[in-house]
């Protein structure tokens, strides 16, 4: 029984069957990659996990509880954090302020009217946030405005914001999409480091095979809304069905 259990999930947009009977089980403390060609339904699947979309059929259980029908913030409070394809951070705030927000969300829940406390006096949380910035090598940028940072740094910060919440499941939506080679390698290194130093369950949606094969414990290949195969990276590499899906021999 995995920490995330996806059963028979289907989603239809008008005449398009985006997902059809997807089954997926993500084991605790593993890195599970979901790959597939464009339009395979990877992002739709991810959106069904975080509350952005509600599937037409099937169930999504996280740690024994259904996530369906819950709002994104409720799902996050259950312990699922998400990294976006384009880094979503607070562009008007400094790096440290960006980090403080998930710290407060983790400690105080989805809403608290803490209008007469002072951010700077939350020494425990500031320390926690700074420790995380040290871990991702961004501590010297802590007073920088985030809007002016490079894509790689933004990604690093977004990752740190998710990690500081100590999520039980980290979802990554094409974390290296649109990145320069250097930033991509940077991000892979960071992800490897996270995998090695923290016992964290990750589900990665990815296009880039290089990223997937260097990180994943298990890989699910999705094509036209249904899982083709699920196996270890070594087995997937030579799998005829995977080649077919990617090279399009079916046509």
């Amino acid at each position: 029984m995995g920490i995330l259990e996806v059963k028979d999930v289907g989603k239809r947009f008008g005449g398009l069957q985006a997902l059809g009977d997807v089954n997926l089980s993500v084991a605790q403390n593993s890195v599970h990659a979901i790959i597939g060609p464009n339009g395979a339904g990877k992002s739709t699947l991810l959106n069904c996990l975080v509350g952005k979309l509600i599937p037409d059929s099937g169930s999504v259980m996280f740690d024994g509880q259904s996530v369906l029908g819950r709002k994104p913030y409720e799902i996050n409070q259950m312990g699922i954090s998400r990294v976006f394809q384009t880094p979503e951070i607070f562009g008007d705030l400094t790096v440290l302020e960006n980090m403080m927000i998930p710290c407060f969300a983790r400690r105080d829940g989805s809403f608290r009217l803490h209008a007469f406390e002072s951010v700077n006096r939350e020494h425990d949380l500031v320390e926690k946030a700074e420790q995380m910035l040290i871990d991702v090598n961004m501590i010297d940028k802590r007073h920088m405005q985030t809007a002016s940072m490079s894509r790689g740094d933004k990604r690093r910060l977004e990752m740190a914001m998710c990690l500081v919440q100590e999520p039980r499941l980290l979802l990554l939506d094409e974390p290296t999409a649109g990145m320069a080679r250097a930033d991509t390698n940077n991000t892979i290194d960071l992800l490897k480091e996270i995998k090695e130093t923290r016992n964290i369950t990750m589900a990665i949606i990815e296009h880039d095979m290089h990223v997937v094969f260097s990180l994943a414990d298990r890989i699910t290949v999705l094509a036209q809304g249904t899982p083709l195969v699920e196996d270890t990276p070594d087995k997937i590499k030579g799998h005829p069905k995977v080649r077919e899906a990617y090279l399009g021999e079916a046509h």
């Binding site: 975080v50 709002k71 994104p72 913030y73 409720e74 996050n76 409070q77 954090s81 998400r82 976006f84 979503e88 951070i89 607070f90 562009g91 008007d92 705030l93 400094t94 302020e97 403080m100 927000i101 998930p102 407060f104 969300a105 983790r106 105080d108 829940g109 989805s110 809403f111 608290r112 009217l113 803490h114 209008a115 007469f116 406390e117 002072s118 951010v119 700077n120 939350e122 007073h143 920088m144 405005q145 914001m161 919440q165």
Partner: protein, 400 residues
């Protein structure tokens, strides 16, 4: 001090000194001189500076922090005024219960309007608030006449019950608002020093005290985790949702708090002059507080107060410069030249002061998007002449 860091404490002290010393600071010209008309240190105007300062500080908590542009905040000010006048009619002439009720009623009204309007964001939110405010205005103007006295406005009469006070004074007049019996709002102590004349008004000092309190609370909110969340709302709501935060209660709380500030301002207006009219709720009044906040610097602490003072100064001082005053100034010139200059300046002063304000507003928004505060910072930097050594520490506190 008071849970603030050194920089904020300094700012608070500066505001306190300015507020308490306003009768001196705003009256720099001797009473008999021709420049005396630029003096702003008379009670009525000083009260307005403080009251609209409070209004703008509150508006800034919503607009400056969350970026939600409400175009209907005057409705809360109007509701506050009506509540206060009703307290004077029913209860008595003490201003404190009246102000308390103003804040409470405006807060509840803001809760209702905010709950509905905040289902949308951006321009749709602005339009919804505008619609609600105009509805309130029209209700107050016509349908709700029994409560608001329609277009005449709500006034005190000799037949009001005033159960804790008296319906009429012993000499048959309407009693005046007070803080304690005998401590009347309109009481003014005049102090002549040489050719100067300074006026110290009880009502003004009450307003100034509330301004300081309002300013202090706003500093606390800006520096609090709650304030950080509001800035996060402005920056990226998507990220907030996926960070486990429910944005709706945060924005609603900001809306209600700023509505209560508006209610306080309305209550104070009525305490200074116990009448309330529907025009206080009109959309032009809502627009004015938007102008004040942007002109002073939205999202900054001191900006809204500066903006409010600036606009109220223009409204009251520039509008007084009519053609005869201009003739007095330019009388030394040859007739043709004098008339030409007066013909041109005629468009910028007196009744046309709005034109000057509009031009100034355009200039500020175009060249100083951060408002007067940004202008002040730039001038400060010019004088310091230190080659921007610590941009980081400046970045650290974007909201000042």
């Amino acid at each position: 001090m008071l849970g603030l860091n050194t920089k904020d404490t300094t700012l608070l002290i500066v505001v306190a000194v300015l507020a308490l010393g306003a009768p001196f600071i705003l009256n720099p010209f001797p009473e008999a001189s021709s420049l005396a008309q630029f003096n702003a240190g008379y009670p009525d105007l000083m009260q307005r500076f403080a009251i609209f300062g409070i209004f703008a500080i509150g508006f800034n908590i919503l607009f400056g922090l969350t970026g939600y542009l409400s175009f209907g905040h005057a409705a809360f000010l109007g509701v506050g005024s009506y509540s206060a006048v009703w307290m004077f009619k029913l209860l008595g002439m003490n201003v404190l219960p009246a102000i308390a009720l103003s804040i409470i009623v405006a807060g509840l009204f803001a809760l209702l309007i905010g709950y509905i309007s905040l289902r949308r964001s951006g321009i749709y939110f602005s339009i919804l608030t505008l619609a609600f405010a105009q509805m309130s205005f029209n209700l107050a103007y016509s349908v709700l006449t029994p409560i608001t006295n329609g277009e005449t406005g709500l006034q005190l009469t000799l037949s009001d019950p005033r159960i804790f006070g008296q319906s009429a004074t012993s000499d048959g007049g309407i009693p005046v608002t007070n803080l304690l019996p005998g401590f009347e709002m309109r009481e003014t102590f005049t102090w002549e020093i040489g050719p100067w004349l300074f006026q110290f008004n009880t009502g003004y000092y009450l307003c100034a005290a509330f301004l300081l309190l309002a300013f202090y609370l706003s500093v606390r909110i800006f520096r609090s985790p709650f304030g950080l969340m509001l800035r996060a709302v402005k920056s990226n709501q998507q990220r907030m949702h996926y960070t486990g935060l429910n944005t709706r209660p945060y924005t609603l709380a900001a809306f209600v708090i700023s509505g209560m500030y508006a209610g306080l301002a309305g209550g104070l207006l009525a305490s200074m002059d116990p009448l309330a009219g529907a025009e206080r709720m009109q959309w032009t009044a809502s627009g004015e507080v938007v102008l004040m906040t942007i002109l002073g610097g939205a999202g900054t602490l001191i900006g809204p107060v500066l903006g409010a003072g600036f606009i109220k100064y223009f409204e009251n001082i520039f509008s007084k410069i009519n053609d005869s005053v201009l003739h007095g100034w330019f009388g030394f010139m040859p007739d043709g030249m004098e008339n030409a200059i007066i013909f041109v300046s005629h468009f910028f002063v007196g009744k046309s002061w709005h034109l000057t304000l509009g031009l100034l507003f355009m200039l500020v928004v175009t060249f100083l998007p951060g408002g007067l505060v940004e202008g002040g910072q730039r001038i400060g930097r010019l004088f310091r002449r230190k080659p921007a050594k610590d941009p980081k520490s400046a970045d650290m506190k974007p909201a000042e």
